[in-house]
């Protein structure tokens, strides 16, 4: 296949393109979903296709096709060049980039696992789902519904360009996800969710804490606790933000503002603020393509879709803005180094600056000390998603939480929303715990400009924050 990609590059250059990139993804995606006693999904997807980017006068044109026939690939190269050429006169912002030596991948660029999911049959995977679901079911009589999913995404990613780069590596993520819905005596429905996921082999599901039984029981326990949970009062409170929720804040709220395609056009509110203080000394945010998976979790992304090797980028260092997240063009434009953040969900999309594994750096507090520092307020845990705006304002749902008084947990809280502006939030971070947790899975994922769902890792420690606005009942 690499020879076909090289032919695409040659075809684009022959048409007049100043630079050409061609990539091929051959991915397998499996989704299993059992809801109560019914198998809703036993799905296998084969997602293979080619994406070609032609550059002309600092402007790119992109085309894609699922066909690998010579005629269709030539047509795609032609379309990509045609788009670039037509668009160039309308562009006042050109994003050229410096050439670099050809990059070659090594066998070690593919994350090695003990038991790859392709070596396990379908029956083994459906049994994982059954085990988690049955374990969850046994946790309470009030359960209305148990939904359990297994997902895996793996496969080859090839890349070449006008510099002669040759990349050949495999992406991998597995995910076991469980959701329990229970009914309170007042008839309200409450939820619990848990998962075990990341760039891991199937050995993940044999480890303590992430066996199907462990995932199922933890999910059921979360839902059971919600039966007696109270609604969170509305207003501003001190908060202890749990690891996974901290990760969502790092990714959704701040990470997107640091993506350099927003910065070069001035849309990001942190445009031109390199070197400025945006947060307290406790606020350090990092994006890293190849973190210590075994220790912290997360996803393994050794190259981006422009062929740039992964890096560990300190975006915010003790509150000071240090770096943006780049593709090759934005890095040159802003005089920074490429960071390996040019990613696409799949072949039908052009790569754009996206995050890899984004997290708050841990501090030195224990959880007890963090609760003590919190004093009175809300301990917000896990997340059911949320939304951010271009100015940094955000709204996230914490799936559950606790009301804390005098550093003591008093009672559980129902799903609660947190809102505010990340640039204000960062100035209120008072401390972080020492435990770092990264999560990233098959289900969910990041969305940007219609590209959804892109697997991303995120996480952090637990964070004490001075004031956070909580929605709820007045």
């Amino acid at each position: 296949m690499i020879d076909k990609l090289q032919a695409c590059v040659a075809a684009g250059e022959k048409l007049g393109a100043q630079f050409v990139e061609a990539r091929y993804d051959d991915l397998t995606l499996r989704t299993l979903n059992r809801t109560n006693d019914v198998w809703k999904d036993i799905i296998l997807r084969s997602r293979a296709g080619i994406g070609i980017t032609c550059y002309h006068d600092g402007v790119s044109g992109y085309s894609f096709t699922a066909s690998t026939s010579k005629r269709d690939l030539e047509e795609a190269a032609k379309r990509a060049f045609k788009m670039a050429k037509a668009a160039a006169p309308a562009a006042s912002l050109k994003l050229d980039f410096d050439h670099r030596p050809a990059i070659k991948s090594k066998a070690s660029d593919t994350f090695r696992v003990k038991v790859h999911p392709r070596t396990k049959d379908l029956e083994y995977k459906t049994e994982l789902v059954n085990r988690a679901l049955e374990a969850a079911r046994e946790t309470g009589k009030e359960i209305q519904s148990v939904m359990t999913w297994y997902g895996e995404l793996f496969g080859q990613k090839l890349f070449t360009n006008s510099e002669g780069a040759t990349l050949d590596w495999e992406f991998l993520v597995v995910d076991l996800y469980c959701r329990v819905t229970s009914k309170t005596k007042d008839g309200d429905l409450v939820n619990g969710v848990e998962r075990a996921s990341g760039t891991k082999g199937m050995e993940l599901f044999s480890r303590k804490g992430s066996t199907p039984e462990d995932v199922g029981r933890a999910t059921g326990a979360n839902a059971t606790e919600q039966l007696k949970a109270k609604a969170c009062p509305a207003g501003e409170f001190r908060a202890l933000v749990e690891n996974r929720l901290a990760g969502v804040l790092a990714h959704e709220s701040f990470g997107h503002l640091s993506e350099a395609d927003f910065v070069v056009i001035g849309m990001s509110p942190i445009t031109g603020k390199i070197g400025e203080r945006l947060g307290t000394d406790h606020a350090t945010i990092i994006d890293e393509g190849t973190p210590e998976i075994a220790k912290y979790g997360g996803l393994w992304i050794p190259f981006d879709d422009q062929g740039t090797p992964a890096s560990k980028t300190v975006v915010l260092d003790k509150g000071i803005l240090k770096h943006y997240l780049h593709n090759r063009g934005t890095a040159k434009h802003l005089k920074q180094k490429p960071t390996g953040n040019s990613r696409a969900v799949h072949y039908a999309f052009v790569p754009i600056p996206r995050m890899t594994n984004t997290y708050f750096k841990p501090g030195d507090l224990t959880e007890e000390e963090a609760l003590e520092n919190l004093g009175t307020g809300v301990y917000a845990i896990q997340t059911a998603g949320g939304q951010v705006e271009g100015d940094g304002s955000f709204l996230f749902k914490a799936i559950r939480g606790y009301w804390v008084e005098g550093g003591q947990i008093k009672h559980p809280l129902r799903e609660v929303s947190l809102s505010g502006n990340i640039l204000q939030f960062l100035k209120k971070v008072e401390g972080c715990t020492k435990d770092l947790m990264l999560i990233g899975g098959y289900f969910g994922g990041c969305g940007k400009e219609g590209q959804y769902p892109l697997p991303c890792g995120l996480g952090g420690p637990k964070m004490v924050v001075a004031d956070v606005r909580f929605g709820g009942k007045a």
Binding site: V38, I42, M83, A90, T181, G266, Q387, A474
Partner: protein, 464 residues
């Protein structure tokens, strides 16, 4: 490359070949093959940075069923080889795991087909240069002479179709085309940044950029100088059509979905015939309105699309079904089978197993203009003029929502005052319908498959 006129026949021919191959593998199983092909071109201009894409989304999906066991497999591409790959994988899955789905009663039986939506052939003639020029002009219109205005414009064309065939004899295809222009304008004054989004999305004609950019800038500018509300209280909220569309999608879009109903996740699943909204509220799903973007001759399993009353004068009438959930609910399909559907859709729809989504939710308008709706609010209220953040992250099971409305105006004593800083709005979707105070007459077709006027609700908590 396919041509629009020949698309349906070409896809149906591939289906026929695929079904013959499938039968050769297992003559005792039922098969369903789905093919889609769409050509998509778009040009995006953001502050002088241009992004231009032009490609073909094509793929296939296969379902195999035997003894109430069903498997699904999909692959990108519509070549005979790729279709065979999906067929083999689906057959192989079925052999590996024999998990019965007691609800499954077979694929769809052949039925008549509905009408295609209207379609302006000029859409197919739009060139790359046309899109570039329109996006450039749209940006210039939005920016006007203002130095502190940023604009992101996009123009695009999307045409194609799908075909569905099964071993019960269904052989149907549908084709459509649409085009659009949209702009997001951001106005900056000091540290304040306010944005607004406007659009023209249509299948009836070539999109018209006239006034679209200017309107976005006007709306964004009106939000400058927002003051803090400084109040936490229950008060009436006026949702203009864009915002109201998100409310209806996030609530009824989920709870009237036959899957949520059958799974017991919808809080209105046992309330057919009940009054669940004030009498002024009527909504139906119309998959046969010729001008609606969601109109097709058939849905994604080959059933004719139709028109379904969901709530009539406050009374719950029906839910939206495909054949699978309709049979489980002992009723008929409403022609709402979709693949990767919903207001924002999937980029590779063929990868999604059949599900249910609305085609075009249409709310019957009331008699009051927006000014009269504002005048009807006593005391304090807020007017929400854009999609609130978090609205689509609400839980269908509980119906409780808590969102942040960033683009908001204060209403006081029946008059619209100035912009206010973002407020959180929380409450229950379903109690909201019971406390619906007014339905406006300013009907608007939104890009998310909802045609709706402004709505006024009572009883939501506002935290300013």
């Amino acid at each position: 490359m396919m041509e629009y006129e020949k698309l349906k026949d070409a896809l149906l021919a591939e289906i026929d070949t695929g079904l013959k191959f499938a039968r050769s593998l297992d003559s005792s199983a039922e098969f369903e093959i789905y093919l889609m092909y769409r050509q998509q071109s778009s040009v995006d201009i953001s502050q002088g940075k241009v992004k231009a894409n032009d490609g073909i989304v094509a793929g296939n999906a296969v379902r195999v069923a035997k003894d109430q066991c069903v498997s699904f497999s999909s692959s990108s591409g519509i070549s005979a080889e790729r279709i065979k790959l999906s067929i083999r994988e689906a057959v192989s899955s079925l052999k590996a795991v024999s998990v019965k789905d007691e609800r499954f009663q077979g694929f769809l039986d052949p039925m008549r087909q509905g009408r295609e939506g209207v379609f302006a052939t000029e859409i197919l003639n739009l060139s790359t240069e046309d899109l570039v020029n329109a996006a450039k002009q749209l940006t210039e219109n939005a920016r006007g002479a203002g130095e502190n205005i940023m604009a992101q414009s996009e123009c695009g064309v999307d045409w194609g179709g799908f075909a569905i065939g099964n071993s019960r004899g269904v052989q149907r295809a549908s084709a459509s085309a649409a085009n659009y222009c949209q702009v997001y304008a951001m106005v900056i004054k000091g540290d304040e940044r306010r944005g607004a989004y406007t659009y023209d999305v249509t299948r009836e004609r070539v999109f018209d950029i006239e006034g679209v950019g200017e309107q976005a800038t006007k709306e964004a500018t009106s939000l400058l100088g927002a003051k803090k509300l400084e109040i936490t209280a229950e008060m009436p909220t006026l949702w203009i059509p864009k915002a109201a569309a998100s409310y209806v999608l996030a609530s009824l879009g989920q709870s009237a979905n036959g899957r949520s109903v059958v799974e017991g996740l919808s809080p209105i699943s046992e309330r057919i015939g009940d009054k669940i909204a004030t009498p002024r509220f009527t909504v139906h799903d119309d998959g046969q309105n010729p001008a609606s973007l969601g109109t097709q001759a058939v849905d994604h399993e080959g059933h004719p699309q139709g028109k379904t009353a969901i709530i009539q004068q406050g009374q719950l009438k029906n839910f939206l079904f495909d054949s699978y959930y309709a049979r489980a609910f002992n009723t008929d399909s409403t022609g709402n089978c979709s693949r990767g559907g919903g207001p924002f859709g999937a980029t590779l729809p063929f990868e999604s197993a059949p599900g249910i989504s609305s085609t075009s939710l249409e709310i019957v308008p009331g008699s009051k203009s927006e000014e009269e709706l504002i005048a009807s609010i006593d005391g304090k209220g807020v007017m929400i003029v854009d999609l609130p953040a978090g609205i689509f992250h609400s839980d269908v099971a509980t119906g409780e929502f808590s969102v942040v409305a960033a683009c908001v105006f204060l209403i006081e004593e029946g008059e619209k005052r100035g912009a206010i800083q973002p407020v959180s709005v929380s409450g229950s979707f379903y109690k909201g319908f019971e406390q619906l105070l007014e339905v406006g007459n300013n009907l608007e077709r939104t890009p998310w498959g909802v045609t709706i006027p402004s709505l006024v609700f009572d009883g939501f908590t506002i935290v300013g």
